[in-house]
Structure formats: C-alpha cells, structure tokens
C-alpha cells in the first residue's frame, strides 16, 4: 500500500506560521539525509518531531538553526527567509538541546548575560529574573554551569532558550536528563510560554507519554521523510494501535521498500 498523505496542519490561530519549511533536502555526497520535507508550525502550537535515532531529526533542527546549510528548499522563521536573512531570522528563534550545554566554565548569570547580548535582549534584568524563576535557578545564579547536575544544566539551557522570547522555539529532547517531577514542571512552563508568547515550538522526544501530553500535532520522520502527521491523541486509534508508542515502533521499524514503507492502514 502507499503511504497516506500527511494531514494538513491545523492552525491554532489565523496568524501565519512562525515556521515554514518547504521541500527541505540535505545531501551528504550520495547520501540523502533529508528528502524534501515540508511542514509548518503555527503560533501557540507545539509540534512533536518523532523518529528513531538517525531518522534526521537533529539534521532538520540544525538546518532550522542555520548551522547546517540545506542542499535545497526553504526555511522561513517568523516569515523571514533564513538563508537570505540569517541574523534577522535567528533573532526571533532559540533552542535547547542535550548535546549543546552552555559553557561549564561560566556561571549561570555570565552565560545568560553573554547570550542576552548575542540575541539582542533589551530588558536583560527583567528577563533574567523571569527565566531564573521559571526554571528554579535562582540559587544557582552564580554557580559555574560545569558543576551543576545534568538536569540543572538542562534547565539552564532552557532558560537560555527563552531569554529572547523566541517566536520559534526548537527543543531537542528537552527533558531527557530530568527527573519526572522536574520534567512535568518544565512541560507546564513551556506550554504556558507557547500560549502566552504566541510562540511555535518544535519538540523532539523519545518519550511518547510526554509527546501525547504536550504536542498538539506530531510529525513522524523516518529515513529523512515525514511519513505520518496528526494529533498524537487520535493517531493510535486511527491506525489501529493501542498507544502512540506502539504506533511509533510500528512506523519506524518497517524497512523501506520503495512505495510501501509501512503497512498500518487507517481504520
């Protein structure tokens, strides 16, 4: 059977998308890591980007962050073309990822001060208080990031990610090294931020419970292609699977064989 066409994105508002990706491709020599993906993220929306290791999630996020040049395709961040107007596009974007901790030889305050300058944050004192409160970091304000636990470092990274009130927030496994209680608080904080700041969030995670709780829409990425898109709370039943995790395992475990990538039928 052929793959069902991804669902059209359901905007949460009449506003234009804060992130628009059109036919994005990335080749490394003969290897096609990303095969012409297109998607949008709307203001206030949290979209999950799901896939196994090596599916192309981090490659996609790297291109959205302007640190990896696509082979072809276009990326618009807040309606600004990233490839043509990089600085302007990235001023309203931010990210956090477990593989990109902030320098351990600077304190939390120093790191946030430096990144506030880089992102052009005007009201630094107020923003500092706000993000320190949001991620319970006040007591670590003058501690060097390198001496913090991995969970605390993740929270510092998230504080950095919200420093400039980004319209587009890219989170690559933001709760991977965090205990369940803190992870729940962080999910709440990010949901509140997306709603209040009218920001769009692209969220990668391998925790399907978390994805169901946080994301209003998910994109399944497999071998550089978006193979399925929809509401994470409805998709499992639509495709005859008891949970999102079952659907994830089924979708991502099928070997590619031309047209028939996987065999789940919409019920």
């Amino acid at each position: 059977m052929t793959l069902p066409r991804p669902l059209a994105p359901q905007p949460l508002s009449a506003d234009p998308p804060v992130l628009r990706v059109e036919n994005l491709r990335k080749h490394y020599g003969q290897v096609e890591a990303i095969k012409g993906i297109s998607f949008q993220v709307f203001p206030g929306e949290i979209v999950g980007l799901l896939g196994v290791n090596g599916a192309g999630k981090t490659t996609t996020i790297s291109m959205l962050l302007g640190v990896l040049e696509p082979t072809s395709g276009s990326i618009e961040l807040s309606s600004v073309n990233l490839l043509r107007h990089r600085s302007q596009a990235l001023a309203g974007t931010n990210f956090a990822a477990v593989y990109a901790p902030l320098p351990g030889n600077l304190t939390v305050y120093q790191n946030l001060r430096v990144f506030a300058l880089l992102y052009g944050v005007q009201d630094f004192a107020a923003r500092l208080q706000s993000v320190l409160n949001a991620f319970d970091l006040h007591r670590f304000r003058d501690a060097k990031c390198g001496v913090l636990s991995s969970g605390e470092q993740t929270r510092v990274g998230l504080a950095k990610a919200m420093l400039n009130r980004p319209r587009v927030l890219l989170l690559d496994e933001p709760t991977a090294s965090i205990d369940p209680a803190s992870a729940r608080e962080i999910r709440t904080t990010i949901r509140r931020f997306a709603a209040q700041a009218h920001s769009g969030v692209l969220w990668t995670s391998h925790n399907m419970y978390e994805v169901e709780e946080v994301c209003s829409r998910v994109l399944f990425l497999s071998q550089g292609e978006i193979v399925l898109e929809g509401d994470p709370r409805k998709l499992p039943s639509e495709y005859g699977k008891p949970t999102l995790e079952d659907l994830f395992i089924h979708v991502t475990s099928q070997p590619p064989d031309g047209e028939q990538r996987w065999s789940v039928k919409p019920s």
Partner: protein
Amino acid sequence: MERQAIMNPARVAAILLRQLYLYRGSAARVVPLFAWVTIDMVLWGFMTKFLGALAHTAYRFVPALLGAVLFWDFMTRVMQGVTTAFFEDVWSRNFLNIFATPITMSEYIAGLLLSSLVTSLVGLGVMIAVAGAAFGLSFAAYGVIALPFVLVLLLSGMALGITAIAIVLRFGPAAEWFIWPIPALLSPFACVYYPLSTLPVRLQWFARLLPPTYVFEGLRAVVAGHGLEGSLLGAALLLAGAYILLAYGIFARVFRHALQSGLITRYSAETVS
C-alpha cells in the same frame, strides 16, 4: 551567512565579555598573560647584557635585540589571543550555541580580534615595564616609529590568528598542535634577531613577503641611527593589510564549508579534552 553592512556592536561585545568573564574567574588564564612574557624579557635581557659585555662594541644590544624580542613576543601574543579565544568555544563545545544566534561571521571574528587586542596589550605593557625596569629598555630609543611597528605586528598577528583558526575549523581540534608553532616556524625568515642580509638570497625573497621583516629591519636601522625609509614601512602596512583580507577570505571559505558539511554541529558533539 548574509553580508551585513554594519556589525552589531553588542554581539561583538558578547564575544569579548565571554573572554573577560573567563579571565576574571581563572587564575590559570590570567597568570600566563604575565608569566611567559616576563620570563622572556628576563631571559633575553640577560642574554643581551652578556652579548653587550662580550662584544665590546658600541652596538646597542638592548634596543636592537631585546626590543626585537619584545616586538616579536607581542605579535605572537596577538596570534595566540585570537586562537585561544576561538579554542574556548572548541573546548567548551559551544559552537552550536554561538552560531545558532544572530551573530554573523564577521562579528564573531571581530570579537575574537578585540579579545586578542585586550590580552596582548596587557602582555605588551608587562614586557615594556619589565624590560624598562630591569634592563633599561626605553621606547624613546625608537621614537614615534614604534607606533607603526606595533600596528604592523598587530595586523600580522591577527592575520596569523585568523588563518590558524581557519586551519582548526577545517581539520579539527587535533590541528591545534600544528598551529601553535607557526610563529616559531616564521621567526627565522622574519629576521627577528639578525639582518635580512644574513639570509641566503633566495630566502630573502620569502622574508620580504613577511611584514614583520620590515619592522625588524627598520628597528635595527633606527637603533643604528640610519633612519627609516617610509616606503618600507608603507609596504609592511600594505602587506599586513593584504594578509588580514586574505586570512579573512580563507576563514570565510572554511566557514562556508563547515556550514555545508555539518562541521559546526559535529564540533558541538565532539568531546575535546
């Protein structure tokens, strides 16, 4: 990255501020700013005194030789200032965080150069103080010509620094061990300690391509009371400016390659001890 007509001073200042924070919190970083240049001045100061006593000539070893060592050390510190500031991002795996911000490549380079200027001027100040207090080296011996000398060496050190970080960005952190000896490799041809005429004729052509050669030839001419040809100093400035542009072009090309090949993201994932 797109070209921008004007650099954003806040983003340049961010790179400088990061470096100043590192120095503020680390004696291990501050001490080398003073220690190695002091040791160099003391070592070469005594060497100069010894040569002066041995030679029994009117030749002024202190301004000619100790002064040359001081100027050469300054250029080396400028280069190391650029590379060290860059390595801070390599060592802390900070590339992804930095280059995912709105900073442009030219702003990043400007921040590194500014950081280097601050640290190398500290080193220069220490060297002048030690060489003056302990060995009687006075900048009055060179007159106002010392300022263009410093400018040529500053530009040369910056050009070397930018080239060095381009090499590291292209070939990876292991190339660190290739770039540190660059000043030592160039010093025989830059005629720091002896006149250009000492070199074989073929090597003199290569030496003339190095802006510091003109500085050290000029320094010896001034100390010997022969004065300095302005055209030679102009050539040195022109060459140094050209090398800055060339180095920037090389870095821009390597940076573009890094963006296309994913080197920036790989640097962030790589553990560098």
